[in-house]
Assembly symmetry: D2
Homo-oligomer: 291 residues x 4
């Protein structure tokens, strides 16, 4: 398929490389061109502008870092995209911006699919991410061969693009809630003289034998907060998207507020660049530990 | 080993049966004697009183339903138990009662181990429960052959009996927090038109591929609240033990409070006998769904 | 009226003095007799036992420090009180103990009124406390002349004694919520460079020109936490009664949980003997202030 | 003084009328000119554009409904205002927009003061509002004669404009927290059979004898939610400014989140146009009342 790809961060590069490997005709664009070097070597054409990366493409994928970046690129994308062509936004975006982008493309007879992904760059490189597309059914169907090479599984989330954002944000919210809950539970057992490593074994060997609990439980048990996989500051930004999604649909989210307030405590006390599991440290402090 | 076993509910029967099967010399006691019939048939001696079930035993296991029941039986147990013998409380108990029971046995030169278990009756019958003992190191060592036939794995939680309670309560708290978080996330995605079953697939296929999320996520997605595995009322009682443990050690537990308030809403609105995952229904109502 | 009075703490002494001053025939009892000296000088008879303070009295008032103390004295009171006579519990008690005490007196044909008071010892000495009686209508009516000399206003709260407890606890809960809210607001304005004293002036001069905000707002603005009017530890004990009242009636109380968790943070970090307004310090710390 | 006044809603009209009555030289502007008729009759000059209302004025007051409106007008104001002249934003605004507006004026050598007010239109008409200015000290001093005729008291909140916003938002947050707390307390006493009117009397006669509790307590006790003084929808919008202020300064605000979630429940269940005290109804529902 003729595909344009805009945004070559670590995730974007990995996903674009999968498309190349799958035999698709790929034009890529990134603001700083050096990120495209590896892909160019492997056969991708490198465009000098967003418009060039969109012209004549059946599908254009954007993988940009936040809502502002999406708003910035969508003007050029929509200006250059053919009628009937599809723009797939695969970054993590808020519901408001997706509605706006959908309206822009709709007016021009273009199709828009929001399609956030779950997984880290290593998973993307291995084609092992999960993909959650939402938008017009025919567009999602058309994307199937692309999703097949980029991901291990596709989870269609309905016909409204913002539905895909709700799924991605809901999933991330579950992670934050789990970290906060672990922080509370760890501080409780510690105050009763229990070795955190022992508690970690109990829950990860039982009902919580899943990556969210193993990865973050390990960070908390060993206090490995300085090696950030995802920082407090980024996690806080993510909660803004969740709150906005809850607001737009009138959904109270009390557990989100609990962990968001914890992130703010971490920010206020110098841990903005730590892994967001550092929430557990601030719960521990409230419990009189880890001064 | 010469073992006494007090309390033959579903869990107790299954665990006692494992001990019998493991070749131990077992005397059992239950207030209503009929619960002992099956065990008697398989070789257990049935005692007519708690004292009779304790006399001359190296280890006496109690598996009773709550703190009041433990307080009730401990007088007779301590009165009949030999000096140096071990009482193992394997029910889910609060930190206060464990301290009291520990003091009672301590004064009489008896040993006390709190050893809550994780798992359902079916797991107990198959020797697949997890066991969390805390108490004197030599006592825990002595219990090893018993734990080996009753459980699949043992997680020592230190030398203070209440540490085991903290672990069990902390683990259960993680479940409640996970259910509440799922309730919030499901209500969010539903308001954006996403099929709950699709959202369930996303998170259980990824970071949350663990029983807590699969079992309770499935109940929520399909609204199977009337088939209670663990009722709202029992879950609420459990939160009382957690709050008390937090209070005794000065540990704020904000996520616990969020889900406890949700349980109270369920209680107040007629769902006391539903599965406690019915919390999700009351979150949904707050979000304007499921009137 | 022939009145017995049990419990001569600071509040009890002040209230009993008012009854004496109002011309009532008073027999008083306190465990440590020296607290009765002043009253004896002014004409009260001092009883050597609770029973002696109850015999032949039309009304016996108990003013004891907590639920345990009430449970302890009620056995003797009920054993000595005449049929038809009234026991008025004027301390702050939980709903459970009031139900139990009510049942004890009911079986013996005695009447029971729960009648907590609002106000400090100085207000009690001046007859300026507010009184909230709940119980049988005829009993409350009979108490009118006593309440008239002890308080400035009486607020009947229905025919069930625990209703009076709910009112008192509800009122105290409002105080705790107000302190927590002020703590949050003060930390917010401080982070924007606003002098706490200036903010204090704004809200107390406007919609919050009431003692709860003036007294506690002043403590927070000036950080006068070491002069405890009511300690963190006592406030935390009070929240236990509120939680129990909410539990018994299935009422979620999320704002209570927020400030209760804050009290626990204060307890865990060495401020158990400070004024409970010290909650604001722990909110400030979570916001990166007052390390 | 030569004053320009932009934004003639109910508050703006009342405040502008006070300035006229105080003998100031007033040019007013409003998008729909008819709102200016009464002021014109009383001697104000009506400008045909914002620029006209700013030219040659020493002070220009804006009193517009929200942040978007402020952003819209500030371009024209700053374009027309003399160097050294003062723009005073007296509406309720968020900290971000105030920073932006401050920067715009700063670059042009103009002065900016944020000066939100507390009080309703009737109080404004009577010169009885409270005024909270923050900005350069000399500018605030210069405004004194204007504030003297518009308000009953001025509370300077430092030299940073956003400090004034923090004070106003902090004050409003206290109201929301008080309403939520009352909602919880009312539902508690009701479940114990206490007449809401009786509970209202208790707290408003004691520590809470202040407008916030009298006004909103009365609405809750009598369920007068349909006569909205301030709607759920507007209150929710206000919480957005508070959350943003907390975020920008890293301040966790857990009590805010509790009442904000309650507002969302009211929005989700059809009460967006009710008085925001309707929060109490949704707390009552969670407690099984008011179905």
């Amino acid at each position: 398929m003729k595909v344009g790809f805009i945004g070559l961060g670590r995730m974007g590069q990995a996903m674009a490389a999968r498309l190349l490997g799958g035999g698709h005709d790929l034009v890529v664009y990134n603001r700083s061109r050096d990120k495209a070097a590896e892909l160019e070597k492997n056969g991708a054409k490198v465009a000098g502008s967003i418009a060039e990366a969109c012209k004549g493409r059946e599908v254009v994928i954007s993988m940009v870092s936040d809502d502002k970046a999406l708003t910035d690129v969508v003007k050029e994308i929509s200006g250059a995209l053919d009628k009937g062509a599809i723009h797939v936004a695969m970054g993590t975006h808020g519901v408001h911006v997706l509605r706006e982008v959908d309206a822009v493309h709709g007016k021009l007879g273009q199709k828009f699919v929001a399609s956030p992904v779950l997984g880290r760059p290593e998973a993307a490189a291995a084609g092992q991410i999960n993909i959650v597309p939402a938008g017009p059914a025919d567009a999602i169907e058309k994307l199937a061969p692309l999703n097949a090479v980029m991901g291990r599984r596709t989870f269609p989330a309905g016909t409204k693009p913002e539905g895909a954002a709700a799924v991605k944000l809901g999933n991330n919210m579950l992670i934050g809630c789990a970290i906060e809950a672990m922080g509370e539970a760890f501080s409780l057992v510690r105050k009763y003289g229990v070795d955190p490593a022992a508690f970690y074994e109990v829950f990860t060997d039982g009902l919580f034998s899943a990556p969210a609990y193993k990865v973050y439980g390990n960070i908390i048990a060993k206090e490995l907060y300085s090696q950030a996989g995802f920082t407090t500051a980024l996690a806080l930004k993510d909660t803004g998207l969740m709150l906005a999604a809850g607001l737009a649909a009138n959904v109270p989210l009390p557990s989100l507020s609990v962990y968001r307030d914890r992130l703010l405590a971490a920010m206020a006390n110098g841990d903005e660049n730590c892994d967001w599991a550092v929430m557990a440290r601030h719960q521990a402090r409230a419990a009189g530990l880890d001064k």
